[in-house]
């Protein structure tokens, strides 16, 4: 296991370093912004400035950057063990696939945790360094007292914790999908497109039933899907309680984090189940089974069917539904051809 972990760290070192540089950059941005705020308008006591607000903005941006990096990391982690490119080193080790997957996950999740801890330290240091000045400015402001209640270290830690849960879920989802799609690169791509396809389809369905109860419901579901899984709109208003438990018990906000935790547990258990059932090399087709291939084809066909709706929206085309069957057939032919070709190249 130790050797495996060392090997994982070694092969993923560039990505781990990029993660760390990113954390330092984002932490530095916060520090710079806080100092700048102090030097410009906070000093005057006329505008609001909260470190936690900037942390929220930074983490929003960091989420997308980290998601991309996570994709790259998962690709490199699994490239070595998938059908098409098995590492000689790993083959030579007397370990089970379970041990391999555990070591990979330990390195992946460990990297996320270490990097996020680094970022949290940066954020807290910034808070400590600037809070004294900001408090002075707040003393002049009408709402200063209220801002002080929000802008706390526990609030920062809680926000980073939620962000961490989001990123871990992204990572584990990508790992899980490695057991569904044969090739590492294709798996990452399909995972990304698959995740995007959910709001993509829901928005269309909501539009179909627009101005009705069902339309509103689907719209709500779409918004909450995006909110839950993309660290969207996690704002300071939810960090009213000083403690984590207080935060959890506050209103309904804890449920978003509960979804993430259950999602993570689902991914972990599925990974182990799939590892037992499929492993890294038991792929019979593009996906792990032919039935799964059919599901993929169906998904692509549905998404292609909807495509004219979005194209018409962008270019204001009337009667877009005429093009929907053509688009659906086109989509089906493309994915079908792709799968057949992949099967023919048969590794």
């Amino acid at each position: 296991m130790k050797t495996l972990i060392k090997y994982e760290i070694k092969t993923n070192l560039p990505i781990i370093l990029i993660f760390m540089v990113g954390a330092a950059l984002f932490g530095g941005t916060l520090f710079y912004d806080s100092m700048n705020a102090y030097n410009s308008y906070v000093r005057l006591g006329t505008s609001s400035y909260m470190v936690i607000d900037m942390v929220s903005i930074i983490l929003h941006l960091a989420f997308y950057c980290s998601a991309i990096l996570t994709m790259v990391m998962v690709f490199f982690q699994f490239k070595q063990v998938k059908n098409d490119d098995i590492s000689e080193f790993i083959l030579s080790l007397p370990v089970t696939t379970k041990t391999i997957i555990i070591s990979k996950m330990m390195v992946g999740i460990g990297t996320i945790l270490i990097v996020n801890t680094m970022a949290t330290i940066f954020f807290i240091l910034t808070w400590v360094k600037t809070n004294f000045w900001i408090s002075d400015a707040r003393a002049l402001r009408f709402a200063g007292e209220i801002e002080s209640q929000y802008d706390t270290i526990p609030a920062i830690i809680t926000m980073v914790l939620i962000y961490t849960l989001n990123i871990i879920l992204v990572y584990l989802f990508l790992v899980m999908m490695q057991f569904v799609i044969k090739r590492a690169g294709a798996s990452v791509t399909v995972s990304l497109l698959g995740a995007l396809s959910i709001p993509y389809i829901l928005v269309f369905v909501a539009q179909l039933f627009k101005n009705s109860g069902l339309g509103n419901l689907i719209q709500d579901i779409t918004t909450r899907f995006i909110k839950t899984f993309t660290f969207y709109n996690v704002n300071t208003a939810i960090y009213q309680e000083e403690t984590f438990m207080g935060f959890i018990s506050y209103r309904k906000m804890g449920i978003r984090e509960l979804i993430l935790v259950f999602g993570i547990l689902f991914c972990i258990t599925t990974i182990f189940y799939m590892n037992k059932k499929v492993g890294f090399t038991e792929f019979r087709s593009f996906c792990y089974s032919k039935r799964c291939d059919i599901l993929l084809k169906m998904g692509v066909t549905i998404c292609s069917l909807i495509a004219p709706f979005y194209i018409a929206y962008i270019w204001s085309i009337q009667n877009y539904y005429i093009y929907m069957p053509i688009s659906a057939i086109g989509g089906y032919l493309v994915i079908n051809r792709f799968i057949i070709k992949d099967r023919e190249s048969g590794v």
């Binding site: 209220i146 899907f225 309904k252």
Partner: protein, 341 residues
Amino acid sequence: MKWSILFFILTMASFGTYALLEDEIDIVLVDAHRESENSEAEFITDTISVETLGNIEFYSKMTELADVLWDIMYNKHNIDMTIWTDAVYGNVYSYFGYYNPGDTDEIELILQTIEEYLKIHNLELTVTQDLDGNEFFKYTDDEYHVEFYTGEIESLPHNTTFFDSYSIINRHYNYTNYVGLIVRPIELDFSDYTRQVDIEPALKQQMQQIYQRVSTDGLFVENFMFGGTRQAVRYRQALSSIRLNMTLEMEDNQICKVGIAGSCTAPELTITQIDMIQKMMNELGMQDCSTVITKINEILQNNNVSNYEISEEGFKYKLWVTGDYNSYDDRYFRLNIEKPK
């Protein structure tokens, strides 16, 4: 396998619960003054104790207004209260704006929203006249009473509330047309309201209802925001009086905050406002309120004092004055009364 299924069900169940929960918005703040850069709504978020509010959705543009109106009409969100600032005509939920035809399609959005709503609910607009003789559209359904006004500003009689408001705004803008929109829950019937009579008792009763509703829902709105016209000042006077009376019934550790902002703080209306504060404090038996009033006057005269604080036995007054009182865009006045903790 069974664990995967279990966690999948739990994930879906918790997501389903989350998706089906009422929206987290508790209070919608709409800054009806689309021209205002230094918005009154910003003032509200400063003034209201956020602790008691929960999440705030904040709208300040006409395009957003159409959306929020739609939501309110459908009661999609579990909104406990909507505060629309600059309540022209003294209504709690109102919009009054100015525009030049052809310049913007935002007004169209409002119209479309109303039209669609009417169509779905099979409602018809009726044309009626307000007390100034202006024609306006009106409809009422089970939940909401909506009035919609539009026309040329010049067609407004100069003694109307609309014109009052316009005269202030037109210092900076040259709009030719106006649009007025009033949306209120049917339970808050302002039909007794007439500009010519003293409506305070009726208003007090109605605002008590708001208070009851809000406090029943576990929220306490610690701010009143009214502006625009002399009529609005009258409303504010009534409401603030009620508010302060309510304050006395509050628990010791709660804080009362009274905020006043908007066009009502224009220099020409400030005197009324000071009178109002004087009256409120007298009603509450604050004998030493003269100190505060004197200070307000001093600050107004000096015109540019950033803040002032004075402590009195029993109550702590914080008085904040920001900006230049002669400038439309940066003119607000704050009085914060805190009960001692």
